[in-house]
Amino acid sequence: MPLTTAYQGEIPYLQILDPDGNLDESLAKGTLSDADVKHLYEHMILNREYDDSAFRLQRSGRLGTFPQCKGHEAAALGAARAMRKGHDYLVPYYRENPASFYHGLPMHYILMFWGGDERGNAIPRNISMSPLTIAIGTQGLHGVGHAWAFKYRKEDRVVVAFFGDGATSTGDIHEAMNWGSVLKAPIVFSCINNAWAISVPQDKQTGAETFAQKAIAYGMPGIRVDGNDIFAVYKAHRDAIENARKGNGPTLVESVTYRIADHTTADDARRYRPAGELEAAQKLDPMIRTRKYLETRKLWNDELEKKTWEKAKATVADVIAQADKVSPPDSDDIFNHTFEELPPDLIRQRDLRHTHSIGLNPEEIGLKPQPEEAAH
């Protein structure tokens, strides 16, 4: 027994649709239908249009900070497609617009959110997803809690929780994966590895060759996929979701993609990105290969491309108009959503809009009435 093997494991890598649009037919079998791919590609166009429009809104001062999702479309949509809409539960971080929209989030909500309005995070009851998260990594545990509740209630729902490569360094994502595994909770951890965490590259974030291999730390399956390949992303998530649904616990899926944009509109990636990297990544843009694939199958052409973009532009213009029409938030809401029932002092703060005590409640607290009131 002396020097033996305590553990042996490996992490597969999956690519089905290569950058030139060639499909591995045998791996693709039973994954996405032609109609699926077409539909998902239309979603990509819609999202790309949304992304660019939001960028422009920010630049013209109509939106606060905005994090573009450019490049993430396949990684998000492949996962979203693998979920049962309205049944499985999506836990986004802040860069999953494509998945959120796919699951039905009204598109102007995201504009409201980044426009500094909580109502953009008031996810409608029929949309099976949690609010966006700004504090990196915290959402993984909420996802596990959700999955645990599903298990507790014997519902066959599965959670897909997203996070970035940077998030893997947080204690919370570690604790989430550990809990998920211990509880055998029905959850899939979907790590979007876009090569950067703001300005920090992978080799400053981890000493490991892949993020997927972190699954081994938790005794759960892990898989790395080409995150620009909608087939691979879909298949890996579908298998992981079905495995979780069967009661076999979580999987970690790493989707390798690239952030073809600055971190947010407040960032300037030219300060830190090596020359040529962006250009190389642009060639791997998931939209390019998805379109190539569709064209090869004669499912797409320039005409459809043009029409879809036009439709996307119209849709996004509508969405922006819808966002513009939203009445400004009521400043009473600063108070009203702090608790189910407001304590008396908070009611005073709300109704008088100040915190200093004089005049807060003259009779009751035995002070002289405040001068302005006396003048009435």
């Binding site: 996810i123 915290t138 645990w148 204690g171 604790e175 809990w179 959503h337 189910e340 607290i365 035995g366």
Partner: protein, 324 residues
């Protein structure tokens, strides 16, 4: 009526609420098989099963973080943090997440959970087992904070906390766990969160305190000359603060002493002192006095009694304030 100590009263409240509402899950380190390091959850796993009373990994952020998910999904988690000194790793999930679920989602989501935490010094424990962080959480909008001092109050307040639709931190003064018994009804009852209790009426000075310090205050008052009439208020709820009960009293007595275990600076005593000034300025005969822990780290236990307010220190503050 049976006389129960704090541990048993809390255990009883947990049991009754779990029977009443099967959405309740208890989770935490050693809460299941072992019944908690203070035995507060003793017998509950046996009674309700491993799926409802869950021994968790050693991971406070995970305890609160998963509880948030459970709560958002419609369950009613009661996480336990083993000692207040280990709230630190859960601080982020409590303050930036649990406390903000309702606000961030404009009430589309809520986060009903009761975080149970033994608190305070005086039990000869190692480092991180004797702190009093209540003002930290009182400063965090979106949280309610409760700290009963007696078994009766604990049962009623815990029941209210569990039924509350917002996150509540329920601090249990561990020094009192087994040192004080009183009659506690078997039947369920609630005590409203946000209501202080006048423990003893008086006319010369008001003492305001909470948690284990209640007993030190009682001792101090006991040792005062008979002619001194002190009103004693047990805050019971840390946030929202029941300033009405306090102000009503101080307007009568004109003098107040606030007693807390926590370090003085930015403790809850500061808030209460400021509130008293704001609400009772024209009635104050003396500046509100604070008897508090020093602005130092809580010492290891050989010196803990030198650190903590006791009857002598409290008595001196009362006398100084009366003589002002």
């Amino acid at each position: 009526m049976p006389k129960l100590n704090l541990v048993d009263a809390i255990n009883l409240a947990l049991r009754q609420e779990m029977e009443r509402d099967e959405r309740i899950i208890i989770l935490g380190e050693d809460v299941g098989k072992n019944g908690g390091v203070f035995r507060v959850t003793d017998g509950l796993q046996k009674r309700f099963g491993e799926h409802r009373v869950v021994d968790s990994p050693l991971s406070e952020s995970g305890i609160i973080g998963t509880s948030i998910g459970l709560a958002q999904a419609g369950l009613r988690p009661i996480p336990e943090i083993q000692f207040e000194g280990f709230l630190g790793p859960a601080y982020d999930q409590i303050t930036t997440q649990a406390a903000r679920v309702r606000s961030r989602s404009r009430s589309a989501l809520t986060c009903p959970m009761t975080i149970r935490v033994p608190v305070g010094g005086g039990i000869h424990a190692p480092e991180h087992h004797s702190d009093s962080p209540e003002s930290i959480y009182a400063h965090t909008p979106g949280l309610k904070v409760v700290m009963p001092a007696t078994p009766y109050d604990a049962k009623g307040l815990l029941t209210s906390a569990i039924r509350d639709n917002d996150p509540v931190i329920f601090f249990e003064p561990k020094r009192v766990y087994r040192t004080y018994k009183e009659e506690v009804p078997e039947e369920e009852y609630t005590i409203p969160i946000g209501k202080a209790k006048v423990v003893q009426e008086g006319t010369d000075l008001t003492v305001i305190t909470w948690g284990a310090m209640l007993f030190q205050c009682l001792e101090a008052i006991d040792q005062l000359p008979e002619e001194v009439s002190v009103e004693l208020i047990d805050l019971r709820t840390i946030y929202p603060i029941d300033i009405d009960t306090i102000a009503e009293s101080v307007r009568r007595t004109g003098r107040a002493v606030v007693v807390q275990e926590a370090p003085k600076t930015c403790g809850l005593g500061a808030e209460i002192s400021a509130l008293i000034m704001e609400h009772c300025f024209l009635h104050l005969q003396a500046p509100v006095q604070r008897v508090a822990g020093y602005d130092t780290c809580m010492p290891y236990y050989k010196l803990e009694l030198d650190y903590l307010p006791d009857a002598t220190k409290i008595g001196k503050a009362i006398k100084d304030c009366l003589a002002y």
